[in-house]
């Protein structure tokens, strides 16, 4: 039995690095400190995996040698007129660097999963910039935390514990105790509700407390947390205060708040379903904190307004810096989606949707982004690595993937690999292969190798290196 400490968790953008793994006979038997998602990965990652390269022959996937799979993949890429190489956010920066070299060699469009998560955030950062910080800065100093259209309780389970409401910093402490007392209140209300349902033999719907203005807890001299979302998430339950926004009106709300924090007036009585008087109180709260932070999620980037929601949110943050210190940060999903933006940027100048087909990097999301290219049926081959677009892209885009040759570099069985013509299963990065990845706040950390991969599985980087080598050979032969 071995105990390995300081392991980084290759799941979400919180990228906790304090995991302790207990390993017996090359198997992880316990994952201490990990959240439900992290533990699920460390303990089950291997349950449904593919171990040997597969190629589709006569409609059936058959096992082949690594060399044959690599050659087939290289051939598909060399033959393609407008190949798309997509994914990248669940692998190491080292693999991404090699991937970009391969993409350049074959004249591919390189896109990563930020195209369907925080791509819009990047577009607005390119318009207005972003005042931000590393997470520790917020742990030490933030006295006002806003989760806007993000739900860390479900998507980043240890975010609050490590960096915000339940963390202890130099200048601000954990608000764990006040949360517990509030929780007791909620529990007893729920008990009453359940009891009354039993008695009345009907579903008694729990209506939200419509309070006059904001609850007093948000005015206390301690760290406070506000959740703004279209539905009452689990994170909202834990917060001091929750604002429910009518779906698709975040943009109006953000712009209205900008007017209010600048002491302006509005002609309307309510915005996004919230009365102006309440919004004025919220604006006061924002202006009067010592250091505020907005953590925003896909509820802003995927809904009506997309990047302009972020434009307004960042501009609100900029406005607030005239009055106090205020910062903003996207809640990045995959453990290395920040890293893939970073590596793409240092090599090509652009963070995602990079079209290398003309021999130099070109960038224009909407034109050079995966979903658009696929929906227009322009790609004639796709390579997917460390991602599962078929599960997450709209049907119209996935159809193009299904129509043309598809290479999948993925250890897991996914809807994407189910459609693939070539499958090369790699070692799991961060468990069976090492590397580097970036936390959501741009802090780079090592991915560790804690167990040996199956003999037939190379790392993503090695597989890409082999394909690159093969591509260069095929190119030479052609000339």
């Amino acid at each position: 039995m071995a105990v390995i400490t300081g392991v980084t968790c290759p799941v979400c953008g919180t990228f906790c690095d304090d995991i302790e793994l207990i390993i017996e006979n090359n198997v992880i038997v316990e994952a201490r400190n990990a959240c439900a998602m992290g533990a699920a990965k460390f303990l089950n990652y291997s349950a449904h995996r593919t171990k040997k390269p597969l190629i589709r022959k006569n409609g059936e996937l058959v096992e082949v040698s690594m060399d044959e799979a690599v050659e087939k993949a290289a051939k598909i890429l060399v033959d393609a007129n407008y190949p798309l190489m997509y994914g990248w956010s669940n692998t190491s920066c080292e693999a991404i660097r090699t991937g970009l070299e391969l993409g350049e060699e074959v004249g591919a469009v390189m896109d990563n999963t930020s195209t369907v998560c925080h791509g819009p955030s990047i577009l607005s950062v390119q318009d207005v910039g972003i005042p931000s910080a590393t997470l520790g800065q917020l742990r030490h100093r933030a006295d006002l935390i806003i989760y806007w259209a993000s739900n860390p309780w479900s998507a980043h389970p240890r975010h609050a514990e490590r960096y915000t409401m339940f963390s202890d910093g130099r200048f601000e402490g954990s608000t764990w105790k006040s949360y517990l007392s509030r929780l007791r209140g909620v529990m007893s209300r729920k008990k009453i509700q359940r009891a009354s349902n039993l008695v009345l033999k009907q579903d008694f719907c729990f209506t939200p407390q419509v309070e006059e203005g904001l609850p007093s807890s948000v005015h206390q001299k301690r760290r406070r947390t506000i959740v703004i979302d279209v539905r009452k998430t689990r994170t909202a339950d834990a917060a001091d205060c929750f604002f429910q926004v009518e779906p698709g009106t975040d943009y109006e709300l953000l712009q209205a708040l900008r007017v209010l924090v600048n002491d302006g007036e509005l002609d309307v009585d309510e915005v996004a379903g919230i009365p102006i008087e309440t919004l004025e109180q919220l604006a006061d709260l924002l202006v009067n904190c010592k250091l505020g932070i907005i953590f925003f999620g896909l509820g802003l980037t995927m809904s009506k307004g997309k990047h302009r929601n972020i434009d307004a949110a960042i501009n609100l943050t900029r406005d607030l810096n005239k009055r106090t210190k205020f910062l903003i940060m996207p809640m990045r999903g995959h453990y290395n989606v920040t890293g893939v933006n970073i590596v793409f940027t240092w090599q090509t100048g652009y963070p995602f949707a990079v079209d290398l087909s003309n021999g130099y990097p070109r960038y224009n999301p909407g034109e050079t982004s995966a979903v658009d290219i696929l929906s227009r049926d322009e790609a004639d081959a796709t390579m997917v690595i460390a991602s599962d677009p078929v599960a997450h892209f709209p049907r119209a885009a996935s159809k193009n993937i299904a129509k043309h040759p598809l290479i999948a570099i993925d250890p897991e069985v996914t809807p994407t690999t189910m459609l693939a013509d070539v499958i090369i299963p790699p070692a799991f990065v961060g468990i069976e292969a090492e590397g580097t990845a970036y936390r959501m706040d741009h802090v780079p950390l090592p991915l560790k190798k804690v167990v040996e991969p199956p003999e037939t599985c190379l790392s993503d980087q090695e597989i890409l290196q082999r394909i690159l080598q093969k591509v260069r050979e095929l190119r030479r032969d052609m000339n």
Binding site: T5, G6, T8, D17, D18, C93, R97, E101, E104, I122, V125, Q126, D127, V128, G129, I130, P131, S132, A133, T134, L135, G136, Q137, R139, H140, R141, R162, Y163, R170, F171, K290, L291, R318, N321, T324, K325, L327, N341, I342, V343, T345, W346, Q347, T348, G349, Y350, P351, L356, G359, Y360, P361, Y363, T436, Y438, H442, V443, P444, L445, P446
Partner: protein, 563 residues
């Protein structure tokens, strides 16, 4: 064993006091040697200038802030692209070039060593990943340590030796080269949106002043025997009247100097040489700064020259960048780093028509020309803050030619022109002096022994320019010289020809230098850092230091400390 001989060039090697002598340079296995065999490959450099490879003491080329700058500015990249060739990778250029393009473009100008001056220790891994993707040059990075909580607390408590040991650990952990100090105390204050405004302002919550921080780290630097001095970006940078702060900063370590050895490097001095009480009364503090530096030997400077261009400003000085955002309304990135530092980015356009910008342009050149000893003032733009490094040849032209200065002077803002000291300055730098401000002086200030000269044993990093000093009067024909400096006839890196006629002919990777300090007290530091680690940072102790295997072509320079 590879040999190469550069024949009949006019050699400018100021560290060896060679001033335009016609001579051969022999190279074997990447080093300069006494002589080589007759059949060695030869480069005919007759009618050309031969210099050591260029060294840049302060250029933002890699890491978190540089890359955030890249991400911020697609509109900057789109106008300047590099197409993939059989030898080189593609990329984008202008003010913040992508990594490969950065290496190629420096190399094409005859540069071979670059110092990345700003590295948040927590994000050192990022800086080194990018450095690995910058080909053609040797490089190193300076960790930001002036607002590190350990520094603030140790120095406040008078624990200089303890701090020295901790910084030795930090240099190893981050694979750093020198102690970088940016707006000391101001960055910690910026954590809550505040700043410090003089050397004696107290840093909120820490009960220490910028003066104490600078002096403390200067002492630490000496205790550690680091090859470079402390590398300081002063308080009040970019504010009218700040030349006083710059002089006070130099003064505050005067008594720590021993002999003629510098103990402080003030970087991008142009940005700290503003006289006047506000922007409307802004004038040059170059006279005062130069006077001080001419009378003192404990300080080196670099220019931070401004170029009239659309560039991207980036520093660890968060409050300064916030100020710049307020002035311009431009897009603004802020990035505060827990326990250590901050950072900011704002795109900026220096316009000839602006009195302030034109005055800044003048200040940089004034200082470079008024300081008599070229070893004290090195040529930089603080790339990309004053302008992109690709404009270095322009600056050389201004330095070597009064005529070149006059042409630009005639095009700038009238008010700035009237106030400029440049018309009163006749000095024109010689090729020998240019070699000092672009390589010899830079390497000397860095304490980088194998660089900046062509003596036996030096690294065979050589730049050959198509300038015939016997035929060309660089003062009059500065345009020809400018063109020659833009595209080196040859760049030789570690004994190999990597650039010919301004084009890459052989892509190579460079070394990464870092300072490996041996101290006598490593154990206690680790315990102290370990104890406070979880309290200060949000990463685990064991994930913080970079393993040597992570560093691309790692090249430690061993140093023995006095603690």
């Amino acid at each position: 064993m590879t040999e190469l001989i550069i024949k009949n060039g006019f050699v400018y090697d100021p560290l060896n006091r060679i001033d335009g002598e016609k001579m051969d340079i022999s190279i074997r296995d990447g080093k300069i040697v006494e002589s080589v065999k007759e059949k060695a490959n030869g480069i005919n450099a007759s009618g050309m200038v031969v210099m050591p490879g260029g060294v840049d003491i302060h250029t933002h080329i890699a890491g978190g802030e540089v890359n955030s700058g890249r991400l911020l500015r697609p509109e900057d990249h789109v106008k300047d692209v590099e197409v993939k060739t059989a030898l080189t990778r593609s990329g984008v250029g202008y003010s913040i070039p992508s990594t490969f393009t950065t290496g190629y473009r420096y190399s094409k100008m005859g540069y071979t060593t670059l110092m990345n001056p700003s590295m948040a220790p927590l994000e050192a891994r990022h800086t080194h990943e990018e450095l690995a993707d910058i080909p053609m040059v040797d490089k190193a990075a300076y960790p930001l340590l002036g607002d590190w909580w350990f520094s603030l607390e140790h120095i406040r408590d008078g624990l200089i030796e303890e701090n020295a040991a901790h910084i030795a650990w930090m240099l190893q952990a981050t694979r750093g080269y020198a102690i970088k100090i940016v707006n000391p105390g101001g960055l910690e204050a910026w954590g809550f949106g505040r700043n410090v405004h003089s050397l004696d302002d107290v840093v909120p919550h820490f009960n220490i002043t910028p003066r104490e921080i600078i002096r403390g780290l200067c002492k630490v630097n000496r205790l550690l025997n680091l090859p470079h001095t402390i590398h300081v970006h002063t308080n009040n940078l970019g504010k009218p009247g700040n030349y006083v702060t710059a002089i006070e900063t130099m003064k505050c370590v005067e008594d720590l100097a021993q002999g003629d050895k510098p103990v402080i490097h003030i970087t991008h001095i142009q940005f700290c040489a503003f006289k006047g009480s506000d922007w409307s009364t802004l004038s040059s503090g170059a006279g005062e700064i130069s006077k001080y530096v001419n009378n003192h030997n404990h300080v080196t400077l670099d220019m931070g020259q401004v170029i009239f261009s659309n560039t991207t400003t980036m520093t660890a000085d968060g409050p300064f960048q916030y100020g710049l955002y307020n002035i311009t309304g431009n897009k603004w990135v802020n990035h505060d780093v827990e326990t250590e530092t901050s950072g900011g980015i704002v795109p900026f356009k220096y316009k000839r028509s602006s009195a302030v910008h034109a005055t800044q342009w003048s200040i940089g050149l004034e200082i470079a020309l008024l300081i008599e000893d070229p070893w004290k003032i090195l040529m930089t733009t603080d790339h990309p803050n004053g302008g992109p490094f690709t404009s270095y040849p322009k600056i050389l032209a201004w330095l070597m030619s009064r005529a070149a200065r006059e042409i630009t002077l005639s095009k700038i803002n009238k008010r700035a022109r009237k106030k400029s000291l440049l018309p009163s300055i006749d000095r024109e730098l010689s090729l020998y002096e240019l070699a000092i401000v672009t390589r010899a002086g830079q390497a000397k200030a860095l304490g980088l022994k194998p660089k900046g000269h062509l003596g036996v044993g030096a690294d065979a990093d050589v730049a050959i320019y198509n300038i015939d000093p016997q035929r060309l009067d660089i003062s009059k024909e500065y345009k020809v010289a400018r063109k020659a400096f833009k595209k080196a006839a040859f760049t030789i890196k570690d004994g190999e020809v990597v650039v010919k006629d301004g084009e890459i002919v052989k892509p190579v990777t460079g070394k990464t230098y870092w300072i490996d300090v041996s101290t006598s007290m490593p154990h206690e530091i680790n315990d102290d850092i370990k104890k406070k680690f979880r309290e200060y940072w949000t990463v685990e102790y064991e994930n913080y230091p970079l393993p040597d295997s992570f560093i691309h072509s790692s090249f430690p320079i061993p140093v023995k400390a006095e603690v």
